[in-house]
Subunit: 354 residues, 4 copies
């Protein structure tokens, strides 16, 4: 079987580099076109400030960076976008209009009514929104988005608990890695020996995006969930891995043991379809008193960095309330990994080749 | 006026050193006796591994460390205890029995029914419990304790809000400095590029001690408050300063503006009495979006490190709910500073000289 | 006595803020004019992103930022420049030409033949170069510079040792704080859990500037010293304080004890003149095996941060060779502090009021 | 071919765990016996505080820890020792006497005249010393040691340069990771925002051990090299990977290009023999201006963490002098990896089965 051909928007940035790394050796997707407006015409290996300890994969370093125009992606089946939000707003629709299936991490279109916001384990059925989108926008292609890096792990943990126990309230405090801010990102002068208790627009995104992801698709639109979610976001001196405490109130009784069982047994459509980037177990539960820890657990799972790790599951303030701590790799599960998984789902569900 | 003479138990440890530094230059308390069982008989300057950038105060380095026995403190008016909990359990009562007023940071006796757990701005009236204590135990001296370093700032913030709006629920997540674990404390191998989402027994202490401190004294005992408090404690790579997010539910409406006003105008008995170690304003409210930060705000206030700094005051999930972030210096306000303030209160309220 | 009036170029940047803090409360210099081209016309307190835990001094926050033109500094006796190098190249000469004594931290003019590069304890006599400068350039004012933050401490340590033992070789490795790179400076993604073994152009500056500072003034010019200096510069995850190892070879025997004595007894012209910003002892020698350490020693000395701390003085490879470690505060002794000390020296030596 | 059976002394410590991880999946050595006196009789998985993100290999967690006596290792072909030095002094000779080939990381016997101190790429021929050892001590087994974690990389870099250019002087400054101190090791209170310019006994070890490793075997003993080596050791806030600056003086001219070529083409006996743990290229040279960096380069090479990475090769003070920076993974190349490589060499050179 021939591989899907992919193009990558924003290929030289920190996020773009993650795609290059994760798509290297992918059995069914090949990365054929690297785009980046400022470096167009030059060799990828010459313009990128490569951040990973792993070397640039063979063939990529010598590839010529193309301009961010649909013509450059000719012959590709799908386009990944690692563009910053402002650029994404303008550029991504051009590719969708030109017939490409675009999977984007940018926030620009996440909350548009006809754009699915995907965590494939949680809301695979939201892809049906693409039919509405194509019809409404007259696109031959499609645009699917993935959430803010802080939301993905949270939504994955909330989904099975909501189905079983019914959330009535969620209070979340995050301790987020500096890689979430990209590069140059957080100055070292600001974060060494420090916590920054604020990330611009982040709390609104976490609550708003989680409600859309956990919402239901019906009558051509997503009805957002009504769960009240209170969020406090903090930046801490950690390189990779967002840690979050979650205080939950449910509509029914929920013991820590039941919560653990529900999380461990959770499987989604990607597991059913055995997608390449789907970890066998989306949520891993640790029983040690002091886990999850970002440095020890961020790469957990059968697909490195794609499983969310949960620990410290314990009784909350009454028998309908539980507290826990969750961890997810913000630049894998919270970014490139979920986007690639979304592309795999698009292909298997027949949304490519509009 | 002659100064009060103080002795210090556990003088050579990290906590003890803070007392040495803070009592240096104190106008009404002189540190006359340094005790430490393992180093007894040797010069303080020779046995201590001094941690502060400030030099050891004159006269202290050459003082001989004494054994931890009441006879060594003869002539002193009060005894500060920086002992670890196990040692405190045995040794502190001996000093109280021998007639000394003991102020202790150790957890050993904090929750005893007849031992006040003091944050002078919050519960000065709890000192009345000492009369009950003396009667029941037959002590000529007395034992007062100060809380866990994570509780002090939280209790100070909750007090004025509870009086005005009536807490019905409090959900707290902490990001605690490594100095809270003393020395050797947290290994660097465990905390660089990491968060540890667990501190042994800490969550129980935070909830339990806060309820006692916010309780009311009546009929010779403390009736604990009934506020449900959910706590998640985390260790982060910060040297000094515990940061805490607080999600609050109240029995009445409470706007962010009203909450800020209530916190800023809060004054306690130490401010009334103009005690030396009392900051003019116990709680400082910052309006910048990204404060408080431990490195920038831990030494805030007219008495360095004794004010709690609050920021990010914002609406919670409804009009009876508010979220905020607070910061307090864990080894000053959360330890030696509050103990010294308690000693000043004891003296002014007439509890010394049993 | 009325105070000298000072203007400050580049007032809102990280370096500029240090001047604001250090000149606050200065007995003989008042900071009267704040300049900053991009923020001209606005209040200092509104445009600055204030970095220090200490609040902005009274009167400064409400001052209006002026454009960086000589007219704005009218009535001032001297001008401090915290400009970046490119801007300094153009702007500083305009002020010197207009009659102001300019003291600059920028690298732009440091190596000019008629511009003194000052560490007042080391080369006070180099100020005589200003007469040559005025004559050659036709300036009514003057321009004096201060060195790269890594050089100042090194030059101070080398001076007394060179006078006594005669350096024949110096091998230096630095471990530099991130504040040396200003803001945004070093991204946290680059430095957490890491060392960066390179700082652009830094090694050339350290060797070249040290040779000029340690040179001798004669016949209207500075004859640089010929000492061969090998330098390796590294960035480490430290906020403030540059640590440097120095391996020395001398032309005569030098025992560690003699080296220590020479360093401790070193005094310069600022100490003779009892200048306000001159620490009583320019070089402090620590005998503990594990000092100096940046966090513990960077604020050492009677003027906080102005003394260099030396430790680990030990025999080198033979009896003419010694190894040691030195530490200096890079944004105080290595920047604003040395510039203010230079201004104090200019005034006392009669170079103001050209 | 059946595998060699290995026993491990000190199996539960931080160093011991590295062996467990590295021997997992080894093609010719199986780890059959885990020893640890304090935990004897219990399951490895229950007593170990496992530090790696990778899980404990199958079969190891359920293995029973044995007492540290030769009988426990019955049937094994070789014994790895991860014992602390004091314990090593007593215990290791018992195993060698009982007929086992012991490979030890402990410092206890490193400098003994009849004990080889091995870096297989550098001094494979020193294994001949084992014949002297067996004869002199009457052992049926043998004891080989590996050096201090800071020496290994340095010796590997010095070897080819010494052969080609002849060292006349080496000045080294190290920036060492905290993992080098094991656990609990360096307290986080001591190293966050700090550098510690001292590691007890380390500088003597680096110079002394390097001279033995670079020495020559003749007439039944090692003649140490006479190169004068000056060393300054520092601890920095890095988890893994020791960075070292090396200033070199040679007896002949040496250009940076020649030095780079010499290092890159260096191969040792392990490469000749294609030993399993031997990286294809022992020394990797990076040309970027800002490499090597511990976080990016510590796992370099075809066998992760076994190659030394060198960068910043540049002219020193004259044409016989070169400066460079080197990096080696202190717990792989500097510890377990070199010990395992030594065991592989022992086997292939016929030293097992005394």
């Amino acid at each position: 079987m021939s591989k899907l051909k992919a193009a990558l928007l924003g290929a030289t940035g920190a996020v773009g580099q993650r795609y290059v790394g994760m798509l290297h050796g992918h059995p069914s997707i090949s990365l054929d076109v690297l785009m980046g407006s400022e470096s167009a015409g030059r060799k990828y290996g010459e313009v990128v400030r490569w951040l990973s300890p792993e070397p640039i994969p063979d063939g990529i370093a010598s590839a010529t960076v193309e301009t961010s125009k649909p013509e450059a992606a000719k012959g590709c089946d799908l386009v990944f976008s690692a563009l910053p939000s402002e650029a994404a707003r303008l550029i991504e629709p051009r590719f969708a209009k030109a017939g490409f299936a675009v999977v984007s991490e940018a926030s620009a279109h996440r909350m548009d009514g006809d754009v699915p916001l995907m965590v494939p384990e949680v809301n695979a059925e939201h892809l049906q929104l693409l039919k509405v989108q194509r019809k409404r926008r007259g696109w031959k292609g499609a645009l699917a988005t993935t959430p803010n890096c802080t939301v993905t792990g949270l939504a994955m943990v909330m989904k099975p608990l909501h189905q079983r126990f019914g959330f009535t309230k969620a209070i979340v405090t995050t301790m987020q890695a500096v890689s979430g801010a990209g590069l140059p990102g957080v100055p070292s002068m600001h974060i060494i020996d420090n916590v920054i208790p604020y990330i611009k627009n982040e709390e609104e995104k976490v609550a708003g995006e989680a409600k859309k992801i956990l919402g239901t698709f019906a009558d051509g639109e997503i009805a957002k969930t009504e769960i009240p979610i209170g969020v406090s976001c903090n930046r801490v001196p950690v390189l990779e891995g967002h840690t979050e405490t979650l205080y939950s109130e449910f509509s029914t009784e929920a013991s820590p043991g039941e919560v653990a069982a529900e999380l461990e047994s959770f499987r989604g459509r990607p597991q059913e379809l055995r997608l390449h980037t789907a970890p066998r177990q989306p949520i891993i539960v640790r029983r040690e008193p002091d886990r999850p820890q970002p440095r020890l657990d961020r790469l957990a799972g059968t697909v490195r960095g794609m499983s969310v790790v949960v620990g410290r599951i314990r009784r909350g303030l009454d028998e309908r309330s539980v507290q826990l701590t969750l961890l997810s790799h913000n630049t894998i599960r919270g970014a490139a990994g979920t986007a690639i998984l979304t592309a795999e789902l698009l292909e298997r569900e027949g949304y490519l080749g509009g």
